[in-house]
Amino acid sequence: MSAIAAKPGAAAGAFQPVASLIAIFFAIIFIGTAYWLLGSFGCLAVEALIGIIIGAALIAFGVHFVPVGGAPAAMGQSPGIATGVAMLATGAGLAGLFGGAWAAHIGLWVALAGGAIGGGLMMAITCLMVNISYVYGMGIPAASGKVEKDPITGDSQPEYKSQGTEGHGLPFISYVGGVFGGLLGGLGGTLIYIELLNFYNVILLPTSEGTNALAVGLAGIFAIGMFLVIAVLSAYNITGTIEGPHDPKFKRFPRAIVAAICASGICGLVALLVVAIF
């Protein structure tokens, strides 16, 4: 993303069982607090908060699929897309949110599917243009640096890697990973948005137009804010770059999901309380 790409001092270790249990415990406390504080709207709030948490977990999982190479990718030194992981995932997720919000009046499932497809479509086009740029613009074939064979197509990778690099471009597994990450991001973002929107619509009593502009404004900015928080935390988890689902770093995703559950628990709780308390 920017010139800073220094690796963190601590080697990113394994799953943290104790801390993860505490985090899950916190999340349960947040859900309980929502039920207790919101009185007559308790059940609705719990339902909304659980939806938000599921959405956040989907986003955190999805970020790990998006192949991002950071600064070295811009020099063809490592595979992946040459930009920041948090921002690329957010770009896809918000493109999905655009589609999902547009279809929100039709129904929950259509909106969710529309959001997922929106995010997937954005990544499908972007990843294709990345490969076209590498192949037809710079004459470089795609090669992964982390695996010998592409797990989907079975193409061997090392001999297509140019000298002195860790690979370049997007092998098919990375492409599929990118699309899948976009799908999950769009799905999660839309789920957060719709849960918030429905809750605000009940509490704020919508105007005759059906959709209350205030509810849309609140749900929109909160969905974007929460998406950014989850995406940045997930980016911290993979320390900036990842090749896709075949990368060894992908195995770190359980940590990010636990983190997303806890983080979205507190953010979602406060976001619900904005309209429902006092």
């Binding site: 600064a71 811009a74 020099m75 063809g76 897309i81 493109a95 529309g114 499908a124 613009g137």
Partner: protein, 300 residues
């Protein structure tokens, strides 16, 4: 029917605007040297290569373009509230956003370059004057077209989001698409033009960017000449396709399956088919490269 005809027109126009935005965005970010390739511009003086390349380290392209576009959207909205004509309001918003972009660009160049004093990298005032204005001009095109597309979505297609929220969504997507497609072409192909064609830059060559132009010393404007030939149009195509297909599948197909009881699912199914189509094209491109370029052979 009337609605769909208007919708198709708006879709096509928004897609065209987005294509312009993508092309201008990539050219702007390459002239200013923003995003990932800028790490090499930052690195070069530390490796002993003084240069005259701009150093527009505002942030990555996605957050930066989110700011410019959202800003222009917000100001355009405020002016329409003051009963200014919408077209004029969009231009006012864009002008102010371009001003903010220029200020951020200059402070980033001055800040980064001054902090490199240890390596003897001077601040070039003529670079500051000439390059900043050129990036502002390209940014103006990119912002104006994106805000216009957002305005169309908000008013003609009745998207529920308010204009600045659409600005966040499409500004971020613009930056993400432009940086993803355009960065490698600037970073690998232009900054390291002296390296072998058809291969990645060896890690050992990092920092040794090309610093001389056809005549004299290269400034960032020379990079714009180059990337505008491929990176810019490719980014434009990328963002244009994203906006166009996203709108097209909804406007045209959202209610196509309503008679079969699947209300609203038409857009989803068409979107899924498009994704599969792009996947097939990508696989074709990958195989084409593998068969035509072949594996790298060991250096003699």
């Amino acid at each position: 029917m009337q609605e769909i005809i208007i919708g198709i027109g708006v879709t096509a126009f928004a897609g065209a605007l987005a294509a312009m935005a993508g092309a201008a965005e990539d050219t702007e970010s390459n002239i200013g040297s923003q995003g990932d390739p800028n790490s090499q511009v930052q690195l070069a003086p530390q490796m002993g290569y003084t240069h005259r390349i701009y150093n527009k380290a505002v942030s990555g392209e996605p957050p930066a373009y989110t700011l410019w576009v959202t800003l222009a959207c917000g100001i355009a909205w405020a002016f329409t509230m003051l009963h200014v004509n919408a077209m004029l309001a969009i231009i006012f918003g864009t002008v102010l956003a371009t001003f903010v972009q220029g200020i951020y660009a200059t402070t980033a160049y001055l800040g980064r370059t001054a902090s490199l004093s240890k390596f003897g990298q001077p601040v070039f005032i003529d670079v500051l004057k000439s390059v900043t204005t050129v990036t502002m001009a390209h940014a103006f095109v990119a912002i104006l077209t994106t805000v216009a597309a957002c305005y169309l979505m908000s008013t003609m297609l009745q998207h529920p989001f308010a204009l600045p929220l659409l600005g966040i969504v499409w500004g971020l997507a613009l930056g993400a698409a432009g940086s993803a497609t355009g960065n490698p072409y600037y970073g690998k192909e232009r900054q390291y033009q002296n390296q072998k064609f058809g291969a990645g830059v060896p890690i050992s060559a990092s920092g040794n960017i090309v610093r001389y132009a056809e005549a004299g010393q290269r400034s960032s404007i020379d990079n714009g000449f180059f990337t505008a030939k491929f990176g810019g149009p490719a980014s434009g195509l990328c963002f244009g396709l994203i906006v166009f297909l996203e709108l097209w599948r909804t406007v045209l197909f959202e209610h196509s399956l309503d008679n079969w009881g699947a209300v609203g699912w038409g857009a989803v199914i068409v979107g899924a088919l498009i994704i599969v189509l792009f996947m097939i094209i990508d696989r074709y491109v990958e195989i084409w490269a593998r068969t035509n370029y072949g594996p790298y052979t060991a250096e003699a």
